[in-house]
Symmetry: C2
Subunit: 447 residues, 2 copies
């Protein structure tokens, strides 16, 4: 029943506009630019066409099948638009317009009426008062900004901006997204139903949620508990502090409970909790691109002594174990590496580092049972390092490349890694955090 939101046969944009800058224009253009292949029908009684597409005066007039309506007209018109959708057989509506419950009693009345009409008409609703939906699979970018790169991450969010930020970052990093949903007022579809749907969805490998509260805490946790057995769920919760909770209540009228109650429940449900958008994104990226480590033991290889130490601190603080190297491996490496290399963990290749040396170290240590994962820090331009990382990722253990201090050459190498869907990071602490999220989920999936 949720399929019509993400892979609809025919889409109507109600309130499509000829005027650039208006939502009704930008959203229609993003759907076109994202490459949606189905029938696309702007609804605007005052224009004959918008962006080269013939306009209709109502969804009822569209001659072909329409599964989804994307609605941007003022709130007072929305209940009747929903009724029209019912007549036409439209099964799903994304209501982007604001002016509902969030604005007070009058808006709440309109929201109630629209839900009554939706129930009668059998139309499912995402929103109202939301930033829309992006389904890269079907090229349906019914939101903004335009994000097109297909990938394994799906996110549902009570904040349109949080989900937009993650979409933008995932696009820049070449990781991409599958489905992005801004929940808005959640008058019908909520995070629990989407969690359930993303759990079943084969294209979604990692689920991200930004929530400020949930209508049914028990059901949320029970659903999450079931889903996290199959795929990772990363949750960022707004409203950790007293003032944050009050602000959340203003924002989405959420029943935001005490943070430590959420924290305990999240742990029980196997949820990976993030404390910032950056951390949420970093975790989703790692979980979508990398295998899980079989244990806490991490090998750190670096060309930068300082960065290796900072990564060691971060790993140890996050519950990872920067394990001592077995004696025989140390002896072996002494034969293979230049004398200036510091053979311990973190293993410092020093300024002598080359891709061949990284390759040599990874070949020697990574197959050992002592080590479950590697952080590979590259502090200088290092031609060929992408290929080395790619090769050793084939061994089945997670490798986190961290690149910094390399100027333009680094940017180019980072883009190269992005083009090969390698999850690379820009600082030792962020790389360590990402690895820690893999380790946390490894424990969940084994439990």
């Amino acid at each position: 029943m949720m399929k019509e939101f993400f892979d609809p046969v025919g889409v109507a944009v109600v309130g499509a506009s000829r005027e650039p800058g208006k939502l009704g224009h930008e959203i229609l253009r993003n759907i076109i630019d994202a490459g949606y292949k189905g029938g696309l029908y702007p609804i605007n009684p005052k224009s004959p066409d918008v962006l080269g597409l013939k306009c209709y005066t109502s969804v009822k007039e569209i001659p072909s099948q329409v599964d989804l309506a994307v609605i941007v007209v003022p709130s007072r018109f929305v209940p009747s638009v929903i009724a029209d959708c019912g007549v036409k057989g439209v099964k799903a509506a994304i209501i982007i317009s604001g002016g509902f419950r969030e604005t007070g009693e009058a808006g709440a009345q309109i929201e109630k009426q629209l839900m009554d009409n939706a129930k009668t008409a059998g139309v499912r609703i995402i929103g109202p008062n939301c930033q829309g939906v992006n389904s890269t699979t079907s090229g349906l970018c019914a939101t903004w900004p335009l994000v097109k790169v297909k990938g394994p991450i799906s996110v549902a969010s009570q904040s349109g901006t949080v989900v937009a930020a993650i979409g933008c970052w995932a696009e820049n990093d070449g990781i991409g997204v599958s489905k992005l949903v801004a929940l808005g007022n959640k008058c019908d579809v909520d995070e629990i139903e989407l969690l359930e749907y993303f759990g079943r969805d084969d294209e979604t490998k990692v689920i991200g949620l930004y929530i400020e509260g949930t209508r049914d805490g028990r059901k949320f946790i029970e659903t999450a508990k079931r889903i996290t057995k199959q795929k990772p769920v990363v949750v960022l919760k707004g409203g950790r502090t007293e003032k944050g909770i009050v602000a959340a209540q203003s924002h989405t009228k959420s029943m935001a409970g005490l943070d430590r109650v959420f924290d305990a429940a999240f742990k029980r449900a196997g949820i990976i909790r993030a404390s910032s958008i950056d951390e949420m994104y970093d975790a989703c990226k790692a979980l979508s691109a990398l295998p899980l480590p079989a244990g806490a033991n991490v090998l750190i290889i670096t060309s930068s002594g300082g960065s290796g130490i900072l990564a060691t601190d971060a790993c140890e603080e996050l519950g990872l174990n920067v394990v001592d190297l077995p004696v025989n491996i140390g002896e072996d490496l002494k034969q293979k590496l230049p004398p200036e290399c510091i053979i311990r963990n973190p293993l410092d290749l020093t300024g002598s580092a080359t891709s061949q040396l990284y390759d040599s170290v990874l070949s020697t240590i990574l197959p050992s049972d002592t080590v479950n994962s590697a952080i590979v820090i590259i502090g200088d331009p290092m031609p060929g390092i992408t290929e080395v990382v790619e090769k050793h990722l084939g061994g089945g253990k997670p490798i986190i490349p961290v690149m910094l201090g390399g100027g333009k050459a680094e940017d180019e190498e980072f883009a190269k890694m992005a083009s090969r869907k390698i999850a690379a990071y820009r600082s030792p602490s962020r790389g360590a955090q990402a690895l820690a999220s893999l380790f946390k989920y490894a424990n969940v999936s084994r439990a």
Copy 2:
């Protein structure tokens, strides 16, 4: 006496090479590309010229004044090069070559000999085994990668990569740097002397240090205590955890003590402590670009409800106060803002946000004594917002713009802010962290 490192009359590059990729080539090229205006003399007995510059066989042969030698020849040659420097009257040498104390007893002997020669010859040394020095003021990029944007941040670091990363980020953000120093083995000049020098240096407004330990803890803390009264000092210390400390000992033979001892001493000295390179950079950036807040009270304005809540959580957790708005200001804003705006702190302009509305809110609230600073979150493309932020920065209170979820339009606006030296951030948590560092230093400078 340190001036010759940063603003030398004449520079010799000992070990200059014709071969791209070699350090002796890259460093000479970076000095040329950074625009150094003084005499530049490659030393290479085997080539008549390198990169269009006439070569000499020894520094002694250079016919003009040379204050600084940048040395990249193998370690065994370095003591005699230093002796030659003494003969020529060269006052400072940056020794980039490795192969000294860090490699064992034989290297330690060479290092001792080079220091003996340096003392006899009256040559000051940065390094050996270091990534060099960048002084944007004199266009002297005797390091890599090439970083040219002039700015108010100076950094000394026991890790070349840490200082290179900060240089790259500061260049990308338009903030720029003044002096970057990779300390290496610190056989002569150390972080204490540089802290002292940066403290006196008019071009340095903010000092960043990455250290793993210090030879004279008491002197370091006493020096810092004096300097932090005049300008902020941000310190990142490698070796917080037991394993990090052991790794630091391998890296720079540092006497890294217990972390909580450092932590207490840093606090006493008024040092802003960072826990990651990102945090160190974010703090330096804010401290270099923004005025200090007179108190903890912060106003959060946002177009994104969720981001406002996340910023509220982050601020409150960091000791800032997301203060309640005075009743009269609230009443005033009710007249000025559309009804859907949520008038509280965080103040949510919702999807209706425009630059004019941000301007209106900042004009109404920022002059009030209730508020000491503002975080301005922009969750959508917002034409004109740079000008609004710039205008209100004129009021003397710090304003932290945070931009996310805006796609290409956001990147353009971010670049515009960078071109005007406005310190903008890409996530609520990083913006809040940056503001917290301003607040911490405000307390230090008032103490």
